[in-house]
């Protein structure tokens, strides 16, 4: 019997090898695409950040770390702090808003589910820039929101809803909320709500059941939601550019400014490199978590010896 099992295991691993090589073959085109259009440009950006600038906005000769040191002694810390703070706040607010929506959607009838999914997707049929521009109109000093707020005495006559951190945060949340809802919804839909009943049955109150059973049960969805909101928020450019003004600037705007106005490519590249590092960090954490899940999944395949 043992021999048979061994043979079966060998066979299984053989199949596994075949599968993996096939998978690589199949994903070769997309890997190639990523290599040519993402990996190589990223490497180029990193390389440029160590070059000297050229007075005409190009790349000069020789290597230096001036790009990095130039950033360090400027306005950088303020912008970095604002970028991280706004991205974190966006992520937290998006999660808090998305959670009840996702729970409601997951528990709703199939018909309502489809309708809600459609409603979430519909805004994407309008161009992103136009939607942001619409916010600019809504928040404009002459816009209706300002007027309403003013009549209720919520803002002073000369106050503005536009061109500040708050406006950037509001529009960031608006832009990324759907991306938070979708992974949460997927995770919650798969969640077995009988586990909550079991927890309640074992004496656990509602809050404890939510924190100890529900949240761990949908952790993958939460991680995905954080990733798809936090990372793009870190690199946002259009939103702070249109509704942020000088007080709402983020790293993305700074990079654009260095490249297009200062015409200092290495400096812009240096800032980009830092941003890439900031983005990769949570990505690495994600991969690490996935890896531990993977090892668990592999362990699951090794059948336990069970008593007879």
């Amino acid at each position: 019997m043992n021999n048979l099992m061994m043979i079966m295991n060998l066979k299984k691993s053989g199949i596994m090898k075949f599968k993996i090589s096939n998978e690589i073959k199949l994903s070769l085109p997309s890997l190639l695409w990523l290599l040519v259009f993402f990996m190589i440009p990223t490497v180029i950006v990193v390389l440029i950040s160590f070059k000297n600038p050229d007075p005409f906005g190009g790349i000069g000769v020789g290597w230096s770390i001036n790009g990095f040191s130039d950033i360090m002694n400027s306005y950088f810390a303020v912008i970095l702090w604002r970028t991280v703070k706004l991205s974190l706040l966006t992520t937290i607010i998006c999660l808090l808003l998305a959670m009840p929506v996702a729970i409601y959607m997951a528990k709703a009838d199939a018909k309502i589910q489809n309708l809600l999914l459609l409603l979430i997707v519909i805004p994407f049929w309008t161009n992103f820039l136009i939607r942001i521009y619409a916010w600019k109109t809504v928040l404009h000093p002459e816009g209706f929101l300002k007027k309403i707020f003013f009549t209720f005495g919520l803002v002073p006559e000369n106050g503005s809803l536009l061109y500040n951190e708050g406006a950037v945060l509001l529009v960031l949340v608006y832009a990324y909320l759907p991306f938070a809802i979708l992974p949460l919804y997927t995770a919650i839909e798969k969640f077995d709500f009988r586990l909550i009943e079991a927890a309640r049955d074992l004496g656990s109150g509602a809050v404890r059941s939510f924190v100890k059973i529900f949240l761990p049960g949908i952790s993958q969805g939460i991680i995905s939601a954080v990733m798809v909101v936090f990372i793009p928020a870190l690199g946002s450019y259009v939103i702070p550019d249109m509704v942020g003004g000088p007080d709402g600037e983020m790293l993305g705007n700074k990079i654009a400014q260095m490249v297009f106005i200062d015409r200092n490519l290495p400096k812009g590249s240096a800032l980009s490199t830092l941003l890439i590092l900031a983005v990769i960090l949570p990505g690495l954490i994600r991969i690490f978590i996935k890896k531990s899940n993977l090892t668990e999944a592999i362990a699951r395949h090794k059948r336990p010896k069970v008593m007879q």
Binding site: M1, M5, D192, R194, L195, E197, A198, A199, R200, D201, L202, G203, S204, G205, R208, I213, P216, G217, S219, E296, A299, R300, R303, P304, V306, M307, Q308
Partner: protein, 406 residues
């Protein structure tokens, strides 16, 4: 203690659907009480009402003298073993069992002591640190029981705990459940659609149908003296004959006329009068089959017929014998080496006989009962359960695979 758990006039509807219709049951302390019925009969709803996962529309649930009808689930000293175990997937076996104790804010050492005791009881010490995904269905089942029992509930509710296991494992788990009950002495309320589970485990059981109680009693009472045609048909197999009482005989016997069959003598303790239309139930295993005419006895009913169909079941053989318009099923146990006997075959002429005490006069109150009569229809013969076995879930698949490999 008597009347430990009382369901008092419980009603529960879901929209238009009446799930529980005026149910009153009283369960004693320490007994194993089963709720048995086909799917949709309301047995699981009754269990969920007891656990606090549903609230009754009317009626009271009284546990140990306290009305718990409106307590939330976490305030009841009641724990449940769920149908699909509902083990927390992100916690190890040990953490699963410890969950209730942690909620109850017991000290660490106390939790460890009690969890270890439970692991010992269910023989899972070696698997204590595994996640539920890594253990088999039978093991999950035991963890689910331990997770509930460790809280020392006043009542342990078991919702079809064996439904996801295959036959062999189910039989073994039944014995284990019984042993655990003997060891802990907690009252068990057990829900099942499988009559053999209910019969083998329960001290008493309630047969339910369409939200109502059909009969409450010890398994032997329910099997041997069903009070309704539903119970007779649902618990085990039976033959039903439509008859009319034509004469009252001494010692609680009556003579009946049955269309197309000779007059029959039947026990009549329900005091049916001459002229009453009745429904006589006779269990297949109570019918004797002989290839020669049996000696005449005034309390034996004898019917001559022809074997129309038979199914060899190993320990016994089931026959369907045609007599006039009637198809009578009879089950015969093999007391001798079967190949040495001269077995009865298709188209053999046989004499069927049954004792007057083995027939029951029942009222027939729904046509659906007829569906439950065991007529030989292909593919139906070996259907083991009346009810849903649709949840061939992962655990079950897992067990099956495991059995093939060993």
């Amino acid at each position: 203690m008597k009347d430990f758990l009382i369901f008092d006039g419980i009603h529960k509807s879901f929209g238009q659907y009446k799930a529980i219709d005026n149910v009153t049951i009283s369960i004693n302390q320490g007994e194993v009480f089963s709720l048995l019925g086909p799917s949709g009969c309301g047995k699981t709803t009754l269990l969920r009402l007891c656990a606090g996962l549903e609230t009754p529309d009317a009626g009271r649930i009284i546990l140990d003298g306290t009305d718990i009808s409106n307590f939330p689930p976490n305030k009841r000293k009641v724990n449940t073993v769920f149908q699909n175990y509902a083990l927390f997937p992100h916690m190890s076996v040990r953490e699963n069992i410890a969950f209730g104790l942690k909620v109850a804010k017991k000290s660490r050492s106390e939790i460890k002591k009690e969890v270890d005791f439970m692991l010992d009881l269910i023989q899972m010490q070696d698997h204590a640190d595994k996640k539920p995904a890594l253990i088999s269905g039978g093991q999950k089942q035991r963890v689910a029981i331990a997770r509930a029992l460790v809280n020392k509930p006043q009542i342990l509710l078991l919702d079809e705990p064996l439904a996801a296991l295959d036959l062999k494992l189910r039989q073994r788990m039944l014995i284990e459940l019984d042993q655990i009950h003997d060891e802990v002495g907690i009252t068990f309320l057990f829900v099942t659609h499988d009559q053999s589970e209910a019969m083998s485990l329960s001290d008493r059981m309630a047969v339910m149908n369409e939200g109502k109680i059909e009969q409450i009693g010890r398994p032997v009472e329910i099997y041997e003296s069903p009070v309704s045609s539903f119970t007779a048909a649902f618990i085990g197999d039976t033959n039903f004959f439509d008859g009319r009482v034509i004469e009252i005989l001494p010692e609680n016997y009556s003579r009946l006329s049955i269309d197309g069959l000779p007059e029959a003598i039947c026990f009549n303790d329900s005091e049916r009068a001459v002229g009453d239309m009745v429904h006589v139930s006779v269990r297949p295993e109570k019918i004797m089959m002989q290839s020669q005419s049996p000696s005449v006895n005034h309390k034996m009913n004898i019917i001559k017929g022809v074997v129309e169909n038979l199914v060899y079941l190993g320990g016994s053989t089931k026959y369907w014998v045609r007599s006039g318009e009637w198809m009578i099923s009879a089950q015969q146990h093999h007391h001798h080496f079967q190949l040495d006997e001269k077995p009865l075959k298709w188209d053999d002429e046989v004499w069927l006989s049954w004792h007057a005490d083995d027939g029951f006069m029942l009222e027939r109150y729904h046509l659906d009962d007829e569906k439950m009569l065991t007529m030989p229809e292909d593919g139906d013969l070996l259907a083991e359960d009346i009810g849903d076995d649709e949840q061939l879930d992962d655990d079950y698949e897992f067990e099956k695979k495991r059995h093939h490999e060993i």
